[in-house]
């Protein structure tokens, strides 16, 4: 009785597709065989070297050898290329192993159908079955491939960097090799005075910034929304359009423009202050005022979004609640306090957390407006307004401290993930999605 399933499975273990051929599913069998041949052709010359590179990160650095009177450069191993190659090879091996297991499973399953006297599908039937039963998998396969190589692989690579000593000046390939160092980078970040001071200082400002930026934009948006939605205000649509404008202008442009508006010497803001007989302010050059400026500008950028969201909530509050309150003789303020505010807070609480996480990583506002300046002498490669994420950026692109940047990226991830988990536990679309219908 068990003849077919066992034989088919064993044949498929020996080589992909053999079990299918044995099951007389020739189209599928040939497809599996082709996949196997292609992956073997790809992997055999590469797999060994790739994995060796991943584990050792190279053994021979670039060398200069004197041959007679000329120095010749002998190319050594480039640790970073070896690492990324190794990672890609490892991912491909995993992929092939996955297909291999699916192949054995499939051979066994079809064998079972034959054992129990069922009819097996031919290739066209299989095709129809797959597009029906595995429709979602088919839809997801293309994006999954893109995400695997352009998001997952890079993130894995960067996480791995945090456990190496890949940094300037001592360990930059091709001249030098990079080595695995375990948790040394994290230890340095906490123990070395210069790094830990910078890290804690920036972390503190990042948290203050995220809290203040979230609340100012939220309550600013609330204020504007309430003003527009008052009974008696006319041209509601016009006001909304005007206030949406800052959101419609690309941040790249509006923030670079703001940088000029707040220019200490020639900017119009200081000109107006002078015209009114007030002193000028060092908007972007003084540590304190630079922080004020980024928060004010962030309000300009962020209020429209909150406004739109809150306007949406306001229109969804049932009108009869207000009517009932009026019958009971509630004043306008009481209506606001008892009906409007709880309603808004209840439906926007998840957004508040999302916005907090967004502000925590608000790269654009800081990078385009101040670029982290003014420079802080006590900090390692950072300025007064730098957030963790802009610090990460400049560590990577300007100062080549790749291992430290990766460690910081991991820490940012842990912080943001904590907030997001709190949020998604409450979010309907993730947890109770089947309950909507």
């Amino acid at each position: 009785m068990k003849r077919h399933r066992a034989t088919a499975a064993v044949l498929s273990v020996l080589s992909m597709g053999l079990g299918q051929l044995y099951n007389r599913q020739f189209g599928k069998g040939i497809l599996f065989l082709c996949i196997q041949i292609a992956s073997l052709i790809y992997l055999i010359p590469r797999a060994g070297h790739g994995l060796w590179g991943l584990f050792t990160l190279g053994e021979q650095a670039q060398q200069r050898v004197k041959v007679g009177k000329i120095t010749k450069v002998i190319q050594g191993d480039h640790s970073i290329y070896l690492m990324i190659d190794g990672l890609i090879i490892a991912l491909i091996i995993l992929l092939v192993v996955g297909i291999y297991i699916a192949n054995i499973y499939d051979a066994h399953r079809i064998g079972k159908v034959r054992d129990t006297g069922g009819k097996t599908n031919n290739f066209i039937q299989t095709y129809k079955f797959v597009t029906d039963r595995y429709f979602p998998h088919l839809l997801l396969s293309v994006p999954a491939f893109g995400v695997l190589f352009l998001t997952i692989m890079p993130i894995l690579f960067t996480i791995m960097l945090a456990f190496t000593n890949y940094s300037s000046p001592g360990h930059i390939p091709p001249a030098k090799l990079v080595d695995w160092v375990g948790f040394q980078t994290f230890a340095d970040l906490i123990q070395l005075k210069s790094w830990s001071g910078t890290f804690l200082g920036i972390l503190k400002w990042t948290v203050i910034w995220a809290v203040v930026a979230t609340f100012t934009t939220y309550f600013g948006g609330l204020l504007v929304a309430l003003l527009i939605e008052q009974s008696g205000i006319r041209f509601k649509k016009m006001w909304r359009t005007i206030f949406i404008l800052p959101y419609a202008i690309p941040q790249l442009i509006s923030l670079l423009v703001m940088r000029n508006l707040f220019n200490g010497q020639f900017g119009p803001i200081n000109q107006y202050l002078k015209a009114f007989g007030l002193g000028t302010l060092p908007w972007l050059t003084d540590p304190f005022w630079a922080k004020v400026t980024v928060i004010v500008v962030n309000m300009w950028v962020g209020i429209p979004v909150s406004m739109v969201l809150i306007l949406g909530v306001l229109t969804s509050i049932p009108k009869d609640m207000y009517e009932a309150a009026e019958v009971d003789g509630a004043t306008a303020f009481q209506k606001f306090r008892i009906i409007t505010m709880p309603f808004i807070l209840f439906s926007t609480a998840p957004i508040l957390i999302t916005q907090f996480a967004g502000n925590f990583n608000n790269f654009n506002v800081i990078f385009l407006l101040t670029g982290g300046a003014p420079v802080n002498g006590d900090y390692q490669y950072a300025g007064h307004t730098d957030l963790l994420v802009t610090w990460l950026y400049s560590l990577t692109l300007n100062f080549s401290q790749f291992n430290m940047a990766s460690a910081i990226g991991i820490i940012i991830f842990i912080i943001v993930a904590t907030f997001s988990i709190i949020n998604y536990r409450r979010s309907r679309s993730f947890k109770e999605e089947d309950m909507i219908q």
């Binding site: 995400v147 890079p154 119009p268 969201l309 306007l311 949406g312 957004i351 999302t354």
Partner: protein, 278 residues
């Protein structure tokens, strides 16, 4: 008494609204007027120029240093392709994740959430080396690929939308013998027009203004996008030629701003539908 109160309340509200409106409009007005002002300096006596000139706009297209026309075409091409690919990928994958219950679905959703929490340019170096080895560096294909693949992770909005479409619709169609693809094309796509417009718009705008990945991937001047060119302009001589920068800024901002204002109803729907469902 009550009437007087309400007039007082309304006039205060109008005053506040007008002040905020000036605050919202001023930067835009200022940069547009600056771009039309003769001279090159940031400083000017008045907001309103003495006379208007289009010289800065002409210079953008004629100065050999800029190749502004070329960048405009590049950007248009990249943004349009990105919009098409990422909207397609996002809609298809989110439809699958919302509509079907299959093994590994929750895992996929969790992985997507987790990946979305990493700062996006943590992957800069790896993507650079990866593209270098594929010989794709400095090509527009690469940048479209990077944008489109990255967009999928931001698709929860679309999923939230499909979650709200009643399942009885597709069940009825299934009984009538429609295949999954037919249901998707004939029923779901027409229904999801608002959310599609929203993500198409945001992905177009995203590609239009991104300079981080674009600067990394596009190395030669002829291949640049507007945002990269603009960024270069700001870094090299912002203060010495502010009016030229202003003209460039206006040209970059106008298409996006006009689109957003005209499609603001879709925008509002998109933002709020994402909100109530996370």
């Amino acid at each position: 008494m009550r009437k007087r109160n309400s007039i007082f309340r309304l006039s205060i509200s109008y005053i506040i609204l007008i002040i905020i409106a000036i605050g919202a409009l001023y930067p835009a007005l200022w940069v547009v007027l600056s771009s039309l002002r003769p001279g090159a300096s940031l400083y000017s006596e008045h907001l309103w120029p003495d006379h208007f000139t289009f010289a800065h706009y002409k210079e953008l297209f004629h100065n050999k240093q800029f190749q502004y026309g070329k960048w405009y075409v590049n950007t248009l091409k990249i943004a349009t392709l990105t919009m098409i690919f990422s909207t397609t990928l996002m809609t298809l994958s989110m439809y699958a994740l919302s509509r079907f219950r299959f093994k590994g679905r929750q895992t996929t959703l969790t992985i997507m959430l987790v990946l979305g929490m990493f700062p996006s340019f943590m992957s800069l170096i790896a993507i650079y080396i990866f593209l270098l080895q594929l010989n794709l560096l400095d090509t527009h294909t690469a940048i479209v690929l990077v944008y489109s693949a990255g967009s999928v992770l931001g698709g929860f909005l679309v999923k939230g939308f499909y979650d709200t479409v009643p399942r009885s619709l597709d069940e009825a169609a299934r009984i009538d013998g429609a295949s999954h693809m037919q249901i998707f094309v004939r029923i779901m796509l027409p229904l999801s027009r608002p959310v599609l417009t929203y993500i198409a718009l945001t992905s177009f705008a995203g590609a239009w203004v991104d300079f981080i990945f674009a600067r990394l991937v596009l190395r030669t001047k002829e291949k640049w996008t507007l945002a990269v060119g603009m960024w270069d302009m700001v870094n090299s001589f912002q203060n010495s030629n502010f009016t030229l920068f202003a003209a460039g800024a206006v040209l970059i901002a106008i298409p996006i701003t006009v689109l957003f204002i005209f499609l603001q109803n879709f925008l509002v729907q998109g933002l709020t539908s994402g909100a109530s469902k996370g």
